[in-house]
């Protein structure tokens, strides 16, 4: 009898349950906790200046008089929002372009789309983003930043989607369906979608990480809406006020630590879910 | 005709771990005894999954995990005349002393087994290097050219990359590589599967001619009885890890003894015969859990009580002929 990976088994696995708890905790800290606050933690000078972590200020305070414990969830929320919007937009574009390129009968169309994808891949996206963010900084909102990133970040995903679909299309079982007269869209629905589900998750998580990297890098350069609290802008201000030289390490370290923990928990969750889907898929398809 | 390979009660298979924990033993070769004489072609026939390729690997000495030999021996008479036990040698010793010089190998799927990044001449030169042969470069080139000519391949091939050759040409290059050091024994494992009948004929004839010229021995593995009819002196029929019958090829075709051999031969198309071919019902057994007694009994039309209980002994019927079946023991 084939080995079946049950849902119960997944849920009881420590390498699934621990990152899940951390992930949920992070989401609550970033999205629910700020709702209970009465002050705007982004404002300057509501807290004492440059205090090390203590009972009153568990993560310390900044040189600009902000409480890091209140600052971090806002920063995390905004960075997650940017990266999630970017991931959704870019994965939508990537899947559209990748699947049309792979499934289209027209050679010209395929060449055109693949060339476009190659250009997007080679084009240095971040300098373009930085110029856009800096020039239009007064007009940007957090979700809009994500949308702009998404418009430029689909190259790699589209390439991956193309090669997966292209190889799927030329597999025997698909050819058999095709030659027995099944329409291409039905083949896509019936044969491809279950197989592609795992790549969808991988793509979204991968693009989120790319977008977070871009947000942080652009902010460090100062090319961002600097009044908005994000992980990147927090790091920028910490560096701007020489936090490292003055020994105010918590200002830099806390946002970094929280970003890393969030990213890792998300990534490990993705790996475990992917393993689960893959094992299930293998059982159903024999 | 002296005996150059003696396989004695060889027993082995694959140790596989399922899910990283449970150990499963696939008993692919069960108590096999065989001899190979000089200057003869010995065929091994049977369905896919009957263990014939595993037996070939063991005789070639490529015994690396998960393949293991549990008992028995494989003895080879070297050029010097002394016997070595192949299953006692390390892979390193096999590689240096036995492979390609004493025994060489023509693998399955020989169209796609050349390194795609090396020119044909480098593929030849590499084989010399693998065996630490420091021969003058010009001499090597001349040798390669002669070999190519004898296989009626154009000389341009020498500087070509594999992808520039047709499938048939690549296959001939592979055969040339295998025969490079004029080995005394060649093991050909399904050399002509996935090839059309015309190419099949060309390749088999090439091997046949070379063998007759060099008086070497050949072990030919194939599921196709017509290939055996064309090539073999003797043929061994394998079923589920056992050799159930061995005989001289004409005798075996004229009078197949084991019910399985009979079924194999009956499935061949004969000139003028218009009756429907009969297939053998059932499937070969699961080698992780073979049936008790004679492994063929669940599919055998003559199965008796004893077949279900006890393993049949080998019954010798004249020189070079034996069968493992309760029908011929006189005890049935």
């Amino acid at each position: 009898m084939a080995y079946v990976y049950r849902f119960k088994e997944l849920v009881l696995k420590p390498s699934f349950i621990i990152p899940l708890v951390i992930f949920v905790g992070m989401i609550i800290y970033a999205f629910v906790y700020p709702l209970t606050l009465t002050i705007n933690p982004g404002r300057w000078y509501y807290a004492p200046i440059a205090q090390p972590p203590s009972l009153k200020h568990p993560f310390g305070t900044t040189s600009t008089g902000q409480d890091v414990f209140l600052l971090v969830p806002i920063a995390l929320r905004n960075t997650i929002t940017i990266s999630f919007v970017a991931a959704v937009i870019s994965v939508l574009i990537a899947w559209g372009i990748g699947s049309v390129a792979a499934l289209s009968q027209s050679q010209a169309m395929r060449t055109a789309l693949l060339t476009l994808t190659d250009i997007i891949c080679v084009l240095p996206g971040l300098p373009i983003l930085m110029v856009i963010f800096f020039t239009w900084r007064d007009y940007l909102t957090i979700p809009l930043i994500g949308v702009i990133m998404g418009l430029l970040g689909w190259g790699f995903t589209a390439r991956a989607v193309y090669s997966i679909l292209y190889s799927l299309r030329h597999r025997t079982f698909v050819l058999t369906s095709y030659f027995t007269g099944l329409a291409m869209y039905k083949i896509v629905l019936k044969d491809f979608i279950p197989y592609l589900l795992r790549y969808l998750i991988i793509n979204i998580v991968g693009t989120m990480m790319w977008a977070m990297g871009n947000e942080v890098t652009a902010s460090i350069f100062g090319a961002m809406k600097m009044e908005e609290v994000t992980i990147g802008t927090t790091i920028h201000w910490a560096m701007y006020y020489q936090a490292l030289l003055l020994g105010i390490w918590w200002w830099l370290a806390m946002p970094i630590i929280f970003l890393v923990i969030f990213v890792l928990s998300l990534y490990i969750l993705m790996i475990e879910i992917d393993k689960y889907i893959f094992a299930r898929a293998r059982v159903t398809w024999g | 005709m002296s005996e150059i390979i003696i396989v004695n009660n060889l027993d082995g298979g694959y140790e596989v771990y399922v899910g990283g924990k449970r150990r499963v033993f696939v008993h692919a070769v069960d108590n096999v005894s065989l001899i190979l004489r000089s200057n003869e072609v010995l065929g091994i026939a049977g369905e896919s999954g009957c263990g014939k390729s595993t037996l070939a690997k063991m005789i070639y000495g490529a015994i690396i995990p998960p393949l293991v030999v549990r008992s028995g021996s494989i003895k080879l008479q070297t050029r010097k005349g002394n016997f070595v036990e192949l299953n006692k040698l390390s892979i390193e010793e096999m590689r240096k002393k036995i492979w390609w010089t004493e025994i060489s190998y023509i693998p399955q799927n020989s169209m796609n087994i050349l390194n795609p990044l090396k020119r044909i001449k480098d593929q030849f030169i590499n084989v010399f290097k693998y065996h630490d042969m420091n021969i003058d470069k010009e001499e090597v080139m001349k040798y390669i050219k002669d070999t190519l000519i004898s296989l009626s391949l154009p000389l341009e091939v020498i500087n070509a990359y594999p992808h520039q050759l047709s499938g048939g040409m690549r296959q001939r290059v592979v055969i040339a590589l295998s025969l490079l050091f004029n080995p005394r024994i060649v093991i050909a494992d399904e050399p002509t599967t996935a090839v059309d009948v015309v190419t099949q004929r060309i390749i088999l004839s090439l091997i046949k001619e070379w063998r007759e010229k060099n008086k070497s021995s050949l072990i030919l593995i194939s599921h196709d009885m017509s290939v055996h009819a064309y090539m073999d002196n003797r043929v061994a029929i394998m079923y589920a890890g056992n050799i159930v019958e061995i005989g001289e090829i004409f005798e075996l075709f004229k009078e197949p003894l084991h019910p399985y051999t009979r079924a194999l031969i009956e499935s061949l198309i004969r000139k003028g015969d218009k009756t429907l071919r009969k297939g053998l019902p059932g499937l070969p057994p699961d080698l992780t859990n073979p049936p008790p007694g004679c492994r063929f009994h669940p599919r055998c039309p003559y199965a008796m009580d004893i077949c279900r209980r006890e393993v049949p002994p080998a019954t010798t019927l004249g020189r070079d002929r034996y069968v493992k079946c309760w029908l011929y023991t006189g005890r049935g």
Binding site: I119, P124, G125, L126, T217, G232, L264 | Y130, Y161
Partner: protein, 335 residues
């Protein structure tokens, strides 16, 4: 047409296309800006109180307006822009580094950036792939699992965060100074190159240290598969030594990985921009920071254009190297 010529032409065409798309984006951005960059530039020059005479200001105004061609139809503006960027290289003055021209500032920084970019992407790719093969083929399970765990733990973390954490660790925990290179008088291009390498070594270290994970993960998977390939098994049966087989697996697995090297250039570029800024390496990233800090739009647009050129050229160089390692591009096959 010989397939090799076709391949080279295709690659060159792609590089030109990338540059063209880059320049067009630059043009569109420059015209869409929510303010008139030319007038902003002049008013800010005046506000900075540069001691300019009225005549000089008029001259500069004329020069900038001519450069932008704002009074002409948009198509003509585009043509002028293309000519200025692609042919004459005239991109106007820089505000941050006044009175230097954008062209000169970037011209000085570009060789530094391309050197760092090519070194970083090739070295981290080689390190990643080398370790990937080792992890796939080694008998020591421990080495393989340690490497794998490191790669899995670090791969998802944004490079900026890793570079900063390294900086924090280096400065606060190890308490070491960041090595720069003392300025030496340079007489020959060779000495210049050596000096460049010395300056590049620390940024390069950081880029490679955190840049090998992707190559590693991909290579390990490919090499594990390659090990089962028929021609590898055949080489083993032919009596090839373990060393020859390892080399053969490496050599054959590296080909599919080459695409990731070329396409990964733009991602390495992002990292190198940041590292240049953090470690004061005189490349494009360093001047980009000044451009942003001083709101120098001319310089920013110039950098945007040259960033495209840099990645396109780096990708083209790697693309042209590819046929040297894959004979299937050099020689036509029979399908």
């Amino acid at each position: 047409m010989h397939p090799l010529i076709k391949y080279v032409l295709q690659r060159v065409a792609l590089a030109l296309l990338v540059v063209w798309v880059g320049i067009t984006i630059t043009f569109i951005l420059s015209r869409l800006m929510p303010f008139n960059a030319a007038e902003l530039f002049i008013s800010r020059m005046l506000a900075q109180g540069h001691s300019l005479t009225g005549e000089e200001i008029e001259n500069m105004k004329k020069q900038i307006l001519e450069l932008y061609g704002l009074d002409k139809p948009i198509i003509v503006q585009y043509a002028i822009f293309l000519r200025n960027y692609m042919i004459t290289g005239e991109m106007g003055p820089s505000f941050a580094f006044f009175p230097s021209n954008v062209k000169d500032i970037i011209g000085k920084a570009l060789p530094w950036s391309i050197t760092l970019l090519l070194l970083a992407s090739v070295i981290s790719w080689l390190v990643g792939n080398g370790l990937g093969v080792v992890a796939a083929l080694t008998k020591h399970r421990k080495i393989s699992s340690v490497l794998e765990n490191i790669a899995i733990a670090f791969q998802p973390i944004p490079f900026a965060v890793l570079a900063l954490s390294f900086l924090i660790f280096y400065l606060l925990v190890l308490k070491l100074p960041i090595p720069g290179a003392a300025f030496v008088s340079i007489t020959s291009p060779f000495e210049m190159f050596i000096y460049m390498l010395r300056r590049a070594s620390f940024p390069l270290l950081v880029l490679v240290l955190f840049g090998w994970f992707g190559g590693f993960v991909g290579m390990k998977a490919i090499a594990l598969k390659m090990r089962e390939e028929d021609f590898i098994v055949y080489a083993f049966l032919q009596g090839a030594s373990t060393r020859s087989i390892r080399f053969m697996i490496f050599r054959n697995s590296i080909l599919p990985q080459f695409t990731t090297l070329v396409l990964g250039i733009s991602r390495v570029f992002v990292g190198s921009l940041l590292v240049e800024y953090i470690f004061n390496y005189p490349g494009i990233g360093y001047i980009l920071q000044s451009a942003i800090a001083n709101a120098d739009y001319n310089l920013m647009l110039g950098i945007l254009f040259f960033a495209t050129v840099a990645t396109a050229v780096a990708a083209l160089i790697l693309d042209l190297v590819y046929p040297l390692i894959d004979p299937r591009i050099r020689y036509p096959g029979q399908g």
